[in-house]
């Protein structure tokens, strides 16, 4: 006889009553296999890679190391839960200038003083990455979550497996520390392994996300929790 439990989870603002859960099931397993939320990735199952990162209430954790049955009564936020719907509409967004976001990035390199030279200097490339980044930013939907948008526009994605975890880690970073130093940024993503990019474009994405988040003040308090 395999005894099981019934548990109730709250994920991305929705209640999920679950039946016949084995007591040892991880939150990651439940998210992926029972709820179909496959954004959180399963790689190491020992907290080494960070690709399953989620927020438990306000805390960034590896969902593979959370017992699902112990997540009752806690708000779980996955990468699917930090969607653009959390963002104010464009008209409500108070932008510091009338120029669209990313405009300065479209300008010729060198013509705009960069606020984030330290971060940016971690990626030295003869390719005009700022121009490409700006173009890609224009091509991403403005109502997309700014951190996700930054990852897409900065080309911080190769195979993409680590990206959801990194998006969660960077979102968490910027909510607590809107202007991270390079060291802050490095420490914040030290639990997220990327085996493709070499992290250069990821740091570029963090810099871009920092700018985008500045123009989206509501980001720091996801709407679910504000309700």
């Amino acid at each position: 006889m395999v005894a099981t439990l019934d548990i109730n989870l709250k994920v991305n603002g929705r209640d999920y009553p679950l039946k016949d859960v084995w007591i040892g099931e991880s939150l990651l397993y439940v998210l992926r296999e029972r709820l179909g939320l496959s954004g959180s990735k399963n790689a190491c199952e020992q907290g080494e890679c960070g690709s399953c990162s989620v927020l438990l209430d306000d805390t960034l954790v590896c969902s593979c190391l959370v017992l699902a049955a112990d997540a009752e009564g806690v708000e779980v936020t996955t990468v699917e839960g930090i969607e653009g719907t959390d963002m104010p509409s464009q008209t409500e967004t108070a932008t510091p200038s009338s120029r669209p976001v990313g405009d300065d990035l479209l300008a010729a390199p060198g013509s705009v003083p960069h606020r984030h030279d330290a971060l940016h200097s971690s990626y030295q490339n003869p390719v005009d990455t700022e121009r490409i980044e700006g173009e890609l930013l224009q091509a991403t939907p403005p109502d997309m979550h700014p951190v996700k948008r930054a990852f897409a526009a900065a080309g911080a994605v190769q195979c993409g497996f680590c990206t959801p975890g990194l998006v969660m880690a960077v979102t968490d970073l910027l909510r607590h520390n809107p202007h991270p130093s390079e060291l802050d940024a490095r420490e914040a993503i030290s639990g997220n392994l990327c085996r493709c990019t070499g992290y250069g474009r990821i740091f570029a994405a963090i810099r871009l996300a920092e700018e985008l988040v500045q123009q989206s003040p509501n980001l720091r308090a996801p709407s679910r929790r504000a309700q």
């Binding site: 007591i23 040892g24 199952e45 907290g47 590896c62 959370v66 017992l67």
Partner: protein
């Protein structure tokens, strides 16, 4: 047996449950527990979760003692006010895993797992901290090296729970150094913790990953305590002193060869870390 998870909200309730069901497996932050479950090394049947016991996450300063609830996470140790009260413990906690791991893992869990590589164990030993263990009808408190008896072995009985850690709050210099293959997310190859207690003229030196549990470098402690100019707060820094201290520290290590390092490298690493700990402790006063 009925499969169950129990999530009490008070310590008293938890101890009652444990008294009635000593076979229950205790779940703290989950960063060790769940790895074992995920890899099939642990098949839990009944679990006592500590996640909802708020009092285990509290700390309290009373007189010259800090009481740390066993459920305090590494993240909480890294930040003020705890980082200011016990900077050496904060340094050690900051080397644990990653932000995600530090947000979940607890100091009580580090003790309960009793890994030879447990990062907070050498500094707790050097600080002369005591582990407080409670059952329904008793409380006992032990030094770290009385509590840990071997690799992943402790004196904890089935009805007992680690409830807290008592750390003396003295005017002291505290340093923690860790060697691993990278800075983040790494299990230590060797660690050295040094505490120079200016109030009680005591030196504490704890070593990690170089023995079956956290090791006390007793000879090195005695030697350094005799060399320090306590009145003028002067730590001996001449080359011969640094060498003698690091040699004595290395001699206290009982390292083994394993997949993470060789015994020889570990002994070398603790010697280098001991020397740097002494230098750093001294620079903190300049």
């Amino acid at each position: 047996m009925v499969m169950s998870i129990n999530r009490p909200t008070s310590l008293e309730e938890a101890l009652q449950i444990l008294a009635d069901n000593p076979e229950m497996e205790i779940l703290g932050g989950g960063t060790d527990f769940m790895v074992e479950v995920n890899y099939g090394h642990r098949r839990p049947v009944s679990i006592l979760s500590l996640s909802r016991i708020a009092e285990l996450r509290d700390f309290e300063v009373s007189g010259s003692e800090l009481y740390l609830g066993s459920g305090i996470t590494f993240s909480k140790l890294v930040a003020p006010p705890l980082a200011e009260l016990v900077p050496g413990l904060a340094q050690a906690a900051r080397t644990v895993g990653s932000p995600q791991i530090r947000n979940a893992g607890t100091i009580g869990g580090n003790l309960a797992t009793a890994s030879p590589a447990g990062d907070t164990l050498p500094i707790l030993l050097a600080l002369d901290a005591r582990v407080e263990i409670s059952s329904l009808n008793s409380v006992r408190s032990l030094r770290i090296n009385e509590f840990i008896t071997g690799p992943k072995q402790t004196v904890l009985q089935p009805q007992e729970l680690i409830t807290g850690i008592r750390v003396p709050l003295h005017d002291s210099s505290q340093e923690f150094l860790k060697v691993g293959t990278r800075n983040a997310m790494v299990i230590s190859v060797a660690t050295v913790a040094l505490v120079i207690d200016w109030d009680s003229y005591r030196v504490g030196c704890g070593l990690g990953s170089v023995g079956p549990g956290p090791m006390e470098a007793l000879e090195a402690e005695r030697w350094l305590a005799a060399k320090i100019d306590w009145g003028n707060r002067r730590i001996p820094l001449e080359e011969s002193a640094l060498r003698s201290f690091s040699e004595l520290v290395a001699r206290a290590a009982r390292p083994i060869d394993d997949h993470r390092s060789t015994a020889e490298y570990r002994r070398h690493a603790v010697a280098v870390c001991a020397r740097r700990a002494l230098e750093r402790a001294s620079h903190a006063y300049e």
